[in-house]
């Protein structure tokens, strides 16, 4: 389906909904083309290839509001879909805070140089992905110690998304994005019957930014082999380093309570902190939707508001919330944007290895397992695995352990951040070092 066809579908939905009695309408037409190839133990495991499409319509009818989405784009399907959706909307309570965004906030022109859509995707086939995946497995099995391998699964994936947005108060905009990923997961046999699995991956906007696939395969095996002999350590309060790949998960528990909905619904431990210190001065990042090649980069947000850089924490002081049009009105706050994009951290100067030397004795967390965080109170409790840090060096692996605390205390104990943003996630977190977290084990 072409860009023009999707624009036509979105325009048509807007005008049809207006004819049928909607006061205002926002329509988003989406099309996605994806190819996903999984290779396992010497042969192809699964290949998925498809183009899918859908339409989301936000309806504002006589002061009432509903959101509808459909994958049934037949003209007869669309007409009855809108009839029913508008009828439904009329049964709801009025909501004076619902409206389309102020058109002054709409995107005027697509910013230059975002580099999020790679035309090269057209020339990369499922067969190319298959060869890449096969090569990753061979590399994974070439590592010393690979006789312990039980299974290697590798994957190549790419997708192209196109979003076309039409609003009845004067927005017509669209953008395309591509994504490419390669990954390898290795299961190995351990002495005690455990079959630890670890992996490595890369995830980028531009094909040329993918690392050498063989290095990803080798790294996956190295990571898996390092998990052998994992033990549970004693319960204690100790310094904890969170690896940059794992840190994004921990940071996301700061983002959830930053939403306007959380704030207005009293579900935010960050309420009242704007302009006040919340964490240590090392807690410092901005939301940057315009970062070239960023995985979260977008010219405008889901409401059509033009993207702009937003400081979130500066030297530990909270600067902004993620406020959309609706909760902005409810809170009498100016809208910023409703959701996070790329996080641009103020980085430290040291590598993870140098930070471990500073810490001397503690725990390096390389991944989280389950757990959760309470957005209203800031209590968290998270399963972890990783390594003991002893004498400043990475020592034996640990598993089946947990860290817990309260965000409002713990972020004050952020004593250092690394120079190493994890670029294969929009969170782009560096290695984080916390002084004195409660660790549970034996």
């Amino acid at each position: 389906m072409t860009n023009e066809a999707m624009l036509e579908i979105a325009r048509n939905a807007v005008s049809l909904a207006k004819q049928k009695g909607a006061t205002d309408v926002a329509a988003v037409a989406r099309v996605k083309r994806e190819v996903d190839v999984t290779w396992r133990d010497g042969k192809l495991e699964k290949i998925t290839e498809a183009t899918s499409r859908g339409l989301d319509v936000r309806l504002f009818v006589d002061g009432r509001y509903a959101v509808c989405s459909t994958s049934d784009l037949r003209p007869e399907g669309l007409a009855s879909f809108l009839d029913n959706a508008i009828g439904l909307t009329r049964t709801l309570a009025k909501d004076p805070h619902r409206s389309l965004p102020d058109p002054a906030l709409y995107s005027k022109a697509t910013p230059e140089g975002l580099s999020i859509a790679d035309p090269r995707i057209e020339s990369i086939t499922a067969l190319d992905l298959r060869r890449t995946a096969q090569g990753m497995e061979e590399a994974a099995r070439s590592v010393k110690g690979s006789e312990a391998i039980l299974s290697v699964t590798t994957n190549g994936y790419h997708a192209r998304h196109e979003t076309t947005q039409v609003h009845s108060n004067g927005l017509e905009a669209s953008f395309a994005g591509t994504e490419f990923s390669i990954s390898a997961d290795v299961s190995i046999k351990d002495d005690d019957g455990r079959r630890p699995e670890e992996g490595e991956y890369a995830y980028v906007r531009m094909y040329a930014d993918l690392p050498d696939a063989a290095s990803v395969g080798r790294r996956a095996t190295e990571r898996a082999l390092a998990r052998r002999g994992s033990k549970k350590g004693p319960s204690a309060v100790m310094p904890v380093i969170i690896d940059n790949r794992a840190a994004g998960r921990f940071v996301s528990y700061l983002l959830r309570p930053l939403s306007g909905a959380a704030l207005q619904q009293k579900r935010s431990f960050l309420e009242g902190f704007v302009g006040k210190p919340f964490g240590s001065d090392k807690l410092d990042f901005a939301d940057d939707p315009l970062l070239p090649k960023g995985l979260g980069t977008r010219p405008f947000d889901s409401e059509g508001m033009a993207a702009r850089r937003l400081p979130m924490f500066e030297k530990g002081v909270l600067k902004n919330h993620y406020i959309d049009t609706y909760y902005g009105k409810k809170l009498s706050m100016a809208p910023t944007t409703g959701s996070s994009t790329n996080l641009a951290w103020k980085l430290g100067t040291k590598t993870q290895a140098a930070l471990a030397l500073d810490v001397k004795d503690g725990l390096l967390v390389t991944s989280f397992l389950g757990g959760n965080s309470n957005d209203a109170t800031g209590d968290f409790s998270l399963g972890v695995q990783g390594f003991v840090i002893r004498g400043g060096k990475i020592a034996e692996p640990i598993a089946e352990m947990n860290i817990a605390g309260r965000h409002v205390d713990v972020w004050k104990r952020l004593i250092a951040v690394g120079n190493d943003p994890f670029v294969y996630s929009s969170g782009r977190a560096p290695t984080l070092v916390f002084d004195g977290l409660q660790v549970a084990g034996t």
Binding site: K43, L88, N402
Partner: protein, 530 residues
């Protein structure tokens, strides 16, 4: 942050309503809506003897000729098996916030997935265009997984014996007007505020869903099923002395409107209020290894994580599960029996037939302490030379099926609930949960406790909250040393995630004791005064 690849590859479970909560935060996601939307209806479920075999989907122009063409194309490069999965699903949501039902969501999914299987290799493609040409193109794409001479497709289709009717509704959801649903949300809201003055915010999310599926395969099988679903999710925020706490309750099932009796709604209100306000008395949970007693019901999350995922046959076929090579071996006390059951009437995890068209019954995972059967889809069953167990499930037409749980629970055991509590000197009692996760190979798993109590000298004393429990599957199964008689299948809206795909599931368990497991609290071990 939507862009974290790693998050997509986890095996986890969570309360299904969290996606609705996300929708309200980001403003754009889930679905809900109107009455006469071409909704799948039970009326089409029982075709008369001379009706065309494609009954429901004929309204979208789907016929047997189109299916035959597509299967022939799917087999054009010599596959072992091919199938088509047509789906039409309409989801309606209503949400109450700040005292008003002021937003609605509707989602319509219509499409077909084509799967081509050669050995244990899968080719998959899907399309939203239900035209002869579009489906043939998808079949051609999926067929690329094979590379042999064409095989003939079925010339006729047999509709198998009648499916069981585990969730037939007297009044289907398409017969219920939005105006009939609104009082449920308004009533819950009013009753909660009336029940306790400390409650400051209430949000209520109501969802109903009508789904139709049609599976046609290269063996000439043709199956249609109609799958209703509903959930009511309530969340409260309470304040006391400047402190805030939040919690809630939810119910779910393949139920109709009549599910929302005064009794059900009353239970939702009572539980939501009690589970929230008790948190003001909570003390920090301890940290370290200790005995843990799991309350009957949603503690079945332990089974889901500690053994359920590890018993999904795909991980065992690949040799990556900690349970690979353990069939026939003792793994728990002889009074431990665990099943995965498609047949629980009206359960959220119930199915009449799986998403490959295979009959779905009860799979015994652990029989008197012995590891009995993996959960299979057709690919793993063929690999092991067994019959499929009806565990082949998928999120939607956009995904190929794989072995998944349905309703996973432990059968009643020999102990009394009070006897189990009395046996613990210092430990914790876990009552309600929000989510869990497992590593299939290492066997480590977690589940997050929202409500619980300290156990001191055999008695429940002070409440605890927000604490993760972490253990290792086989080790924890060995340490289940008491099992109560009081099995409860939880009524909550659980959703299980695996390889990007979410499916509705149920879980249950009697009161059980685990002699030792790690509790991830913020405090020291229970001090044990008195």
């Amino acid at each position: 942050m939507g862009h974290d690849l790693r998050l997509n590859r986890r095996q986890f479970i969570e309360m299904g309503a969290s996606s609705i909560a996300a929708a309200s935060a980001s403003g754009f996601l889930l679905g809900c809506a109107g009455q006469a939307l071409e909704k799948p209806t039970m009326a089409a479920a029982v075709p008369s003897a001379d009706a065309p075999r494609v009954s429901y989907f004929s309204r979208f122009g789907v016929d047997e000729g189109m299916i035959r063409d597509a299967l022939a194309e799917a087999l054009s490069r010599g596959a072992d098996h091919a199938d088509l999965f047509f789906q039409h699903r309409v989801t309606n949501g209503l949400q109450l916030e700040d005292g008003e039902v002021n937003r609605a969501y509707t989602r319509v999914e219509l499409g077909v997935g084509v799967r081509v299987v050669r050995g244990d290799q899968t080719g998959y493609a899907y399309t939203e265009e239900l035209t002869r040409e579009a489906i043939k193109r998808a079949a051609q794409t999926a067929a690329a997984v094979a590379d042999g001479p064409a095989r003939p497709g079925p010339t006729a289709f047999a509709v198998g014996s009648a499916l069981p009717q585990r969730y037939a509704l007297d009044v289907p959801w398409d017969g219920i007007k939005p105006a009939q649903k609104l009082p449920i949300l308004d009533g819950v809201n009013a009753a909660i505020f009336k029940a306790d003055g400390r409650i400051k915010k209430v949000s209520v999310a109501f969802m109903d869903e009508a789904g139709a599926i049609l599976i046609a395969d290269s063996q000439g099988r043709l199956v249609e099923d109609f799958q209703p679903m509903t959930t009511l999710y309530v969340s409260c925020v309470a304040e006391q002395g400047g402190r805030k706490e939040t919690n809630g309750y939810n119910v779910a099932g393949r139920r109709g409107f009549d599910f929302y009796s005064a009794e059900t709604v009353g239970r939702v209100v009572r539980e939501a209020v009690a589970r929230t306000t008790v948190l003001f008395d909570a003390v920090p949970a301890p940290a370290g290894e200790m005995p843990v007693v799991l309350a009957a019901g949603s503690s079945g999350i332990l089974l889901h994580e500690a053994i359920g995922h590890g018993m999904e046959a795909d991980f065992n076929r690949k040799g990556t599960s900690i349970y690979a090579d353990k069939i026939g071996k003792p793994i728990a006390k002889p009074f431990v029996n665990i099943v995965d059951d498609a047949a629980q009437p009206y359960a959220r995890g119930a199915i009449n037939v799986d998403d490959e068209g295979n009959p779905a019954g009860t799979t015994t995972l652990v029989d008197r302490g012995i590891l009995a059967t993996y959960m299979h889809d057709s690919i793993s069953a063929k690999h092991y030379g067994l019959k499929p167990t009806g565990n082949g499930r998928r999120q939607s037409y956009q995904h190929p099926p794989m072995p998944r749980m349905r309703a996973t629970y432990m059968l009643p055991g020999p102990h009394e609930h009070d006897e189990i509590l009395a046996s613990v000197k210092r430990g914790i009692y876990c009552q309600s949960f929000s989510n869990g996760q497992v590593q299939i190979g290492a066997g480590d798993f977690t589940f997050y406790v929202k409500n619980g109590f300290l156990i001191e000298d055999g008695k429940l004393t002070r409440p605890i909250k927000d604490v993760n429990i972490i253990g290792n599957g086989p080790k924890v199964l060995e340490r289940i040393d008491m099992v109560g008689k009081d099995l409860v299948i939880d009524e909550g809206g659980w959703t299980c995630g695996k390889d990007v795909q979410s499916v509705p599931v149920s879980q249950g368990i009697p009161t059980v004791r685990v002699s030792s497991i790690t509790v991830g609290g913020q405090g020291d071990k229970p001090s044990g005064k008195g």
